[in-house]
């Protein structure tokens, strides 16, 4: 029963800070929408210059297809060669497509032009994707043209893409962003909660009361867990309603994974809170931890891309498992039989961090 008063006090303190309420309930909606639009690996409107030095019809048609595509923003089509390096340096275009006549060994013109793609490689990811798009456009034209001319293709592969057939990156990023929001809000708000008690000198009063360390601990964590779940609910609604990402799996499993994750992240945040002596310190520590969690979570880049030496950090990163589970539930509609191992690892991380955090809290109160 004593814990009820602590829970009530925590909730009153949160809801009396109007600026905080904006951060908690408006910011997640805006963040999800902004991140949903911005954090995308889709490449559109690539600024391009097309230099068509060929008199071949095929070259003309390929240049036309590039011009008509939404993927490219064609700045210029010309048949005059220029200083390509200068164009790239000036940033007028990120890629230059040069179409030239091609010949066989006997100098006899071939049916299709030679295509050279010059890319600005600073943004390596965009460059690779854009190069793939150009090749795709050219290849598609050539295949269609060959079919029209009655040529049978010796081998043709067909790709069937499941779970995200349109390869929309928002479908991949959206659920991850929900997990990210859950981490940001829970970690930042919780990490300052015990430090604030120390700063306003109310910690001693809590410790001298009949509250046990576990009750203080739960009294601090549960309101944040509740808020975290509300935040997640908002995030889920936004990704479904605004971005049209389908939720194919069980909402119950989603919240089950979130609850386990929340206790891991809240324990970690409370550990920070016991280690720091001011709110600024706690916020800085949380920010540093969050960036590390984020970079090693597989949100932006696959976990497999992480250098081997850092794999162990990724292995103990709870955000990694939540993101994986959320994506599986959202996009694949997977049931618990597919991710119970991840859930168990998440549970083990939670128990470990919670124990460490409680031990440190007990050490703090008996110094």
């Amino acid at each position: 029963m004593r814990i009820f008063y602590l829970l009530k006090k925590e909730l009153i303190e949160i809801f009396r800070q109007k600026e905080m309420l904006v951060i908690m309930f408006i910011a997640p909606i805006l963040q999800t929408i902004i991140l949903g639009y911005v954090v995308t690996t889709d490449v559109h409107n690539i600024p391009v210059e097309v230099i068509n030095l060929s008199k071949n019809k095929a070259a003309y048609r390929i240049a036309n297809r590039i011009n008509r595509s939404d993927l490219f923003d064609v700045k210029k089509i010309t048949n005059q060669p220029g200083d390509h390096l200068k164009t790239l340096k000036q940033g007028k275009a990120k890629s230059i497509i040069i179409l030239r006549d091609s010949y066989d060994k006997k100098r006899k013109p071939l049916a299709y032009p030679e295509i050279q793609i010059l890319m600005d490689g600073i943004d390596s990811n965009t460059s690779v994707i854009a190069a793939g798009y150009f090749n795709g456009v050219a290849r598609q034209y050539i295949l269609e043209d060959m079919r029209k001319k009655g040529f049978e293709l010796p081998l043709e592969s067909q790709t069937l893409i499941r779970f995200n057939p349109n390869l929309k990156s928002i479908n991949y990023m959206g659920p991850g962003i929900v997990a990210l929001l859950l981490t940001i809000i829970s970690m930042f708000l919780t990490s300052i909660t015990l430090v604030r008690e120390k700063e306003q000198q109310t910690m001693d009063t809590l410790l001298i009361s009949r509250l046990t360390p576990m009750e203080i601990y739960l009294g601090k964590s549960l309101p944040m867990a509740l808020l975290g779940l509300i935040e997640m609910g908002i995030g889920i609604l936004v990704v479904i309603l605004v971005f049209g990402i389908p939720l194919r799996g069980s909402l119950l499993y989603l919240f089950l994974a979130a609850v386990i994750f929340l206790f891991a992240i809240l324990s970690y945040a409370l550990l920070i809170s016991t280690l720091c002596s001011s709110q600024q310190q706690a916020l800085f520590f949380s920010w540093f931890s969050m960036v590390t969690f984020l970079l090693l979570a597989g949100l932006f880049t696959p976990v497999e891309n992480i250098p081997k030496g850092l794999h162990w950090v990724a292995d103990i990163n709870p955000l990694r498992y939540l993101i994986k589970i959320i994506r599986e539930i959202f996009l694949k509609g997977n049931g618990i039989e597919y991710f119970y191992k991840d859930l168990l690892i998440l549970g083990a991380i939670t128990v470990t961090v919670l124990s460490l955090s409680l031990l440190n809290f007990k050490r703090l109160i008996s110094k």
Binding site: Q200, D204, I208
Partner: protein, 245 residues
């Protein structure tokens, strides 16, 4: 009259790193008395009070409260002690009534008992002030509310750590009147202060300096024995004696 020592402090020390904040002090507190713990900032007053109520681990020595060992039986001790820490330790975003509800609740009081306490404070402070957030009310009222919260649930022994700091002289006087009422009700009170003029309110005083007790006794006897006119003169002499020894 037979005096009963409700708190016994033996050779108590607290070391932070190589620094002794409190160095082998011994004293007793009699049941029903007001003991003033005097000393400048950093003398070791708060450290001592925190060790007595179990908030700081004792480096060496012993403290017995009602015969219970602080090192081993702090849970039982909590049941009959109240503590008002420095700067009043109230939650600024909560109202006075909410603070009382919270402190009553975590002390294990029932809703009915909390309500009774709230009604008691409504008799002394206007309800419209009690419904304001702590951050918006004057220090004198905060002080009253803080004292009130530490009296839940009716402790026998009350520790007051610098309860009058930052409060104007009128409120300080009023506060001491409340402390006298508590003494009349049979409470034992340990109060720390760096305001030397408050020493005369206490039944006995202990002057602490650099973690050591340099004088203890009844204020009037101490003044008489040392042939001093004021507590300030006595304090200066005690400190000078300590530093020259």
């Amino acid at each position: 009259m037979q005096v009963e020592d409700i708190i016994r402090v033996n050779e108590l020390s607290k070391k932070f790193g190589a620094f002794y904040a409190v160095n082998r002090i011994s004293f007793n507190i009699h049941r029903g008395e007001i003991l003033g713990f005097l000393g400048p900032n950093g003398a070791g007053k708060t450290t001592t009070i925190k060790m007595i109520n179990g908030l700081l681990r004792i480096t060496s020595g012993n403290v017995f409260v009602k015969g219970l060992n602080v090192k081993k039986q702090i849970k039982q001790i909590k049941a009959f002690t109240g503590y008002m820490s420095q700067k009043f330790s109230l939650y600024p975003l909560l109202t006075s009534l909410e603070n009382i509800e919270f402190f009553g609740g975590i002390s294990g009081l029932s809703r009915k008992e909390i309500k009774k306490f709230q009604q008691q404070i409504e008799d002394t402070i206007p309800i419209e002030i009690l419904k304001q957030k702590i951050m918006d009310i004057p220090p004198g009222i905060k002080q009253q509310v803080a004292l009130f919260t530490c009296l839940m649930p009716d402790p026998d022994i009350i520790f007051l750590d610098e309860p009058t700091s930052g409060v104007d002289p009128k409120n300080r006087r009023d506060f001491w009147m409340q402390i006298y009422k508590l003494k009349k009700a049979g409470k034992t009170i340990l109060v720390t202060t760096h305001n030397l003029d408050e020493a005369e309110y206490a039944d006995r005083i202990i002057i602490i300096h650099n973690g050591k007790i340099i004088r203890q006794g009844e204020p009037s006897s101490l003044l008489k024995n040392e042939n001093m006119d004021s507590m300030e003169d006595l304090f200066k002499k005690a400190v000078t004696d300590d530093e020259t020894n």
